[in-house]
Symmetry: C2
Subunit: 144 residues, 2 copies
DNA sequence: TATTGTTATACTCTATAACTATA
DNA sequence: TATAGTTATAGAGTATAACAATA
């Protein structure tokens, strides 16, 4: 009737539980204070890192459907964080870039994100934190 | 403009990406073939493990709000997998138990779940799989 | 007065199909 | 004919408030 429980060895269950912890940390440090969804933050940082990206690539990196990404881009554009510029090489496509305001926000969030990770390292040592990211990357590597 | 990217050291981002992999595996092995949501499966296994649980406890373990849990219970009850029995000790409360059909499904899903984990171990060694669960548990331990 | 569970409601996310414009 | 992006729509998830019954 009891015992150890199948879920204890089910990776997906543990990942789902960990998502809750990570989401709480995100909301506290970034989401609520800066009015950003997780996906907004990730998109901002990806564009900051790459300079410009097509919606196609962003959708893949963020595991979003194309329609959902359009809506996210609309929201961030309305807020003045990103711009859509025509792609000179393919007129069907678009280049998503950060506005100056978007770049300022991205820079501002870097130390905030580091503080968020510091907070998680109260639950997990720095070595565990690094190892955890390494193991999760193994799981997602085929996706890239 | 480029470099290594802040997200590479952001645990929440990696957890979110891993969720996609775990969810795909779940859908393929359990979700689609047995018409179960992740939360249905987890609930089924938790009740199988504990014999009976109150909605209050289930909501906590599954990180669901009470209203959402009510809806999940309605769905599973309509499907004949669980029953709500009055709690003899507190008439405000309820005991969620598995019906015989729910117990059969829970038993049937055990080897299926093990096969799902075997599939994930093609991406991750058995040792990595165990270590990953251990590290994720550290992150969620304070929640218990 | 507080707690358990439910109902009602609104907002967001997710997925699909249909459309446009370009290739 | 295929692809990039958008629009439209429906279904599921999530969160809050309000309620009934019991402690």
């Amino acid at each position: 009737m009891t015992g150890k429980g199948l879920l204890d060895t089910t990776l997906g269950f543990h990942i789902a539980r960990a998502s809750v912890v990570a989401y709480d940390a995100f909301e506290q440090h970034i989401g609520a204070p800066h009015e950003l969804r997780k996906v907004d933050f990730s998109l901002l940082m990806l564009v900051a890192q790459h300079g410009h990206l097509a919606p196609k690539g962003l959708a893949k990196m963020l595991s979003l459907t194309a329609p959902k990404l359009s809506m996210v881009l609309d929201r961030m554009q309305a807020r003045g964080l990103i711009e859509r510029k025509p792609d000179p090489q393919d007129r069907r496509s678009v280049r998503v870039i950060l506005t100056p305001q978007g770049e300022r926000l991205a820079r501002k969030l870097e130390p905030v994100a580091r503080r968020m990770e510091q907070g998680l390292k109260k639950l997990l040592s720095a070595a565990d934190h690094a190892r955890l990211i390494q193991l999760l990357s193994k799981l997602t590597a085929p996706t890239l």
